[in-house]
């Protein structure tokens, strides 16, 4: 796959001046829409997770006319609900030295100096408002006996700034946003369309003006028009087939917006989470995460000797290798995710992995149980232990958990400016669907923070600035019809192949290929192999996929086929992006670029930029680089030793 290099992106619309004042400045310079006009402005929000749910609710509260879409049967199911561990906020309630600046610093450093300083600083500033908002909504965060909020530590930080609700923080925050959204639905400011899937973006006269969706119950293709479109459709980790994402998570909405002109930034930045339950068989349909919070008290180890097949309890202390504590004494078991994942891969590659196939390491609570007592451990992690036992049939109070890294989050996504607007005017992208705040590696408990920052606080301000120039008038029938025909043609094509393989079988093969060649470790050779293999497999897909049933009914096979088709195209761009970026950074580890200790070696001279890819009709993408400058955090090689 070839590419062309295009002009650099120089202006991200971030205000100038001291970093502490930039968001204040932007809020003041943003144009306001008067209340009577808000009713005349239509906004479409696709996706109802933390970002989309909070955005739709807040825009409704402000008085805009909002249409919200989700593919599930109710907005409360969005996959934010599965986030376990917590949400970061620079409240410094512990007095342990936390501050907005420190959260900003940790996030920029944790992202391996590949995120924008202005955006990250704003995120840290807004973080404190999120906790206030959530508490006011009745989110039942964990509390201490004095009645104040409890916090815990998370990977990549040395302060305790993570607020949590047992192991179900995402659920509680999402229900808060969902309830706010339902309140607006009742008030008539938001119209909800459940079981609808976005299949194309309508662009007219250079502006995003609506979406084409499929009613997943009747199969009807519908057109919805608006003055602005907000995509909050989450990440694309399911390109790997096996991931911790929900089964329905997909790239279709952002990919089809990309085909309409929205740049795709850093597609190769994938987060592999270190603590997931290992694969147990070929039929496996998804992977389950065990919260990173477990690393607060669990100790990670493997046998010292390769091929040691004794039961864990029979391996004496001196024959165990607590490798994270050994290699990274300063952070120990709490090193960031990318580092913990690669370390697990390395010990398994040395033949020291445990469990079936040797693809696992122990996460052991023996010492925590003897130090704190079983009850205290149960109070903290009870639901996680139960979940583990339900899936594996093993009791982690008696035998250590077995864990292995799995695809969890994608830092890449549609390119957005400081206002969260994509390269298509009127198309805004929030939450995991955009690329903006986590650089090359996201810190634990920062996804919830970003989704809610975007939805409750940032977008409602910046979108208003755009809408102040609206309403934008009639949308041309030609633009709508063209998008609708494109959608119908694609569906007809999928239905007509009538081959011999299911969409899932292609998805599984694509996922395996991506995991092997564009997973935890990437090389020029592996990426070139993937770039050769993906088009072949895609060709076979379009000639041999079998979609049963018809297009005008509830058809889960057709839904899946459409999503897999887009994953092929995305996979190709991910591999190209990974190939071009010859450095290692964060979750992107190029084996050719490592230091003497095997740690990721960045190349700041050549790669201190965002790679924003433009789709072209010829199929040859154009690479636009957005240079990254660090005024406030000195770039350094990350060290957690």
């Amino acid at each position: 796959m070839n590419y062309i290099e295009g002009p650099e992106i120089r202006d991200t619309k971030a205000p100038e001046g001291p970093i502490e004042e930039r968001w204040e400045k932007r809020k003041f310079s943003a144009k306001l829409v008067n209340p009577a006009n808000k009713r005349k402005l239509d906004v479409i929000v696709v996706g109802t997770g933390l970002a989309g749910g909070s955005a739709a609710a807040t825009l409704g509260e402000l008085g805009y006319n909002v249409k919200s879409f989700c593919y599930q049967d109710t907005p409360r199911r969005a996959h934010s609900i599965a986030a376990q561990g917590g949400i970061n906020a620079a409240k410094n309630y512990r007095g342990d030295g936390d501050s907005i600046h420190r959260l900003f610093y940790d996030t920029v450093k944790g992202g391996d100096f590949r995120a924008r300083e202005s955006n990250v600083y704003r995120l840290a500033q807004v973080s404190v408002n999120i906790i206030d908002q959530a508490v006011a909504q009745g989110v039942p965060f964990a509390r201490e006996y004095g009645g104040l909020l409890d916090t815990r530590s998370f990977g990549g930080a040395q302060v305790s700034r993570t607020f949590y609700a047992r192991g179900q923080t995402g659920q509680q925050l999402l229900l808060g946003a969902y309830q706010a959204l339902e309140r607006q639905i009742a008030a008539g400011t938001v119209t909800m369309h459940t079981r609808h899937e976005m299949l194309d973006l309508i662009v007219d006269d250079g502006r995003a003006r609506g979406v084409i969706v499929r009613d997943m119950v009747t199969g009807e293709i519908e057109r919805h028009l608006a003055d602005a479109v907000v995509l909050a459709t989450g990440g694309y980790g399911n390109v790997f087939f096996l991931s911790t994402n929900a089964k329905g998570c997909n790239t279709t909405a952002i990919w089809r917006a990309h085909e309409r002109g929205a740049y795709f930034a850093n597609p190769c930045y994938t987060q592999i989470h270190p603590t997931c339950i290992p694969v147990s068989g070929e039929y496996q349909s998804k992977l389950t995460l065990m919260s990173e919070s477990l690393r607060n008290d669990g100790r990670v180890w493997v046998p010292l000797a390769a091929g040691d097949s004794r039961a864990p309890g029979d391996i004496p202390e001196e024959e165990r290798d607590y490798y994270l504590e050994r290699i990274y004494p300063a952070f120990g078991n709490l090193v960031p995710r990318d580092i913990a994942s690669r370390a697990a891969k390395n010990v398994c590659d040395e033949g020291r992995g445990v469990g079936p196939g040797g693809l696992g390491v122990y996460l052991d609570f023996r010492d925590a149980i003897s130090r704190l007592g079983k009850d205290a451990v149960e109070k903290k992690y009870g639901n996680l232990f139960e979940m583990y036992e339900r899936i594996t049939g093993e009791n982690p109070y008696d035998v250590p958990m077995r864990i292995y890294p799995a695809v969890h989050y994608t830092m890449g996504g549609l390119w957005v400016d400081y206002d969260l607007q994509s390269t298509i005017p009127g198309l805004f992208v929030i939450g995991e669907a955009n690329f903006s705040d986590h650089g090359a590696n996201r810190l634990g408990a920062s996804a919830l923070m970003q989704g809610l920052a975007d939805g409750y606080f940032v977008l409602p301000t910046t979108l208003g600035d755009y809408l102040a120039a609206g309403p934008f008038g009639e949308v041309s029938e030609q633009a709508v019809a063209e998008a609708e025909i494109k959608v119908r043609t694609k569906i007809d094509r999928l239905m007509s192949v009538n081959g011999t393989r299911t969409p899932d079988s292609f998805h599984r093969e694509l996922g395996k290929l991506m995991w092997d060649y564009c997973g935890m470790e990437r090389t020029e050779e592996s990426l070139r192999k993937a770039l050769e293999r993906i088009p072949e497999l895609r060709e076979e897909f379009w000639n041999n996929v079998k979609v049963s049933g018809g297009p005008e009914e509830l058809n889960q096979v057709l839904e899946k086929a459409g999503r897999v088709a887009d994953f092929f195209d995305l996979a190709e761009l991910m591999c190209l992006d990974a190939l071009v970026r010859t450095e290692s950074c964060g979750g992107h580890f190029r084996a050719e670029s490592q230091d003497a200790d095997g740690e990721a070696l960045r190349d700041d001279a050549s790669f201190a930029h965002v790679s924003a890819w433009e789709h072209t009709a010829s199929g040859e993408p154009v690479l636009h680089k957005e240079p990254l400058e660090y005024e406030y955090v000195k770039m350094s090689q990350r060290s957690y030793k």
């Binding site: 996959h79 408002n129 039942p140 009645g147 068989g281 339900r390 299911t502």
Partner: protein
């Protein structure tokens, strides 16, 4: 393992539906229940049959999207477990398993095992929230909450909205679902200003949707994957009675 499945097939709301028998072979005990159905569906697609439609998403027991009546029990016999978290190691080789959708008038069947649970959203719309627009909140520490209250509120708030409580109830009552939300917000200081109006509006909406009344049978809490306690219903009734006075 080899199994016989008897599955409810219904092409749409107007179809009367029927049980259809399928044989599945070589099921691994480590498979989840939904993975076992995936295997069946892959086969049906290739045979040109319509695969069994069922709702599912996170497959880790938290989104609340999946739900089937397995051998007569909502989510199957495993306690505190959603269908997606149920594993085949709990079944005997050679067993016959019946699989049906949630059955309740307010949950009409969409297709096969997929039902329409939008009535739950409308119950929340009636009052299952605290009215606090974004940006208007005071500092989170300005109102301390007793740990016991926060913990009990959390226990009620863990409801995943799957609808098993309705499917299990002989009256088709949505009391446990509604009471869980009322209790969650009633126990917190933030929920006080709207406490009584919330209880009244939500209970009235629940009735308007056609759910039955509660007769303290307790089947709901027995099948609830999150173990929402039955006494939440007492809390709901207490708040409702105060509001109705």
């Amino acid at each position: 393992m080899n199994l016989v499945l008897k599955i409810w097939r219904q092409s749409g709301p107007s179809d009367s539906g029927r049980m259809v028998k399928y044989h599945v072979k070589d099921v691994s005990p480590d498979m989840s229940f939904l993975e076992m159905l995936d295997v069946l569906n892959e086969r049906l697609i290739l045979e040109g049959d319509d695969p069994v439609a069922f709702d599912h998403d996170c497959r880790e027991g938290i989104c609340g999207m999946c739900g089937m009546v397995i051998n007569g029990v909502a989510h199957g016999e495993q306690v505190a477990t959603t269908t997606c978290q149920l594993h085949m190691r709990h079944f005997e080789d050679g067993a016959t398993i019946t699989i049906e959708p949630w059955r309740a008038a307010p949950f009409p069947v969409v297709k096969d095992l997929v039902v329409d649970r939008s009535a739950f959203d409308r119950i929340i719309q009636a009052g299952g929230f605290v009215s606090v627009p974004a940006g208007s909140a005071p500092d989170a520490h300005s109102i301390p909450v007793r740990k016991e209250d926060a913990d009990s509120a959390f226990d009620a708030a863990t409801c995943i909205g799957c609808g098993a409580c309705v499917a299990a109830c002989p009256n088709g009552s949505a009391s446990l679902f509604t009471a869980a939300k009322i209790t969650h917000l009633s126990l917190l200081p933030q929920g006080q200003p709207e406490r009584l109006s919330r209880a009244k509006a939500m209970v009235e909406q629940m009735d308007a949707e056609g759910f039955g009344g509660c007769t303290n049978t307790g089947e709901c809490t027995a099948v609830c994957p999150k173990g929402i306690p039955l006494d939440t219903i007492a809390q709901m009734n207490s708040d409702y009675l105060k509001a109705a006075k």
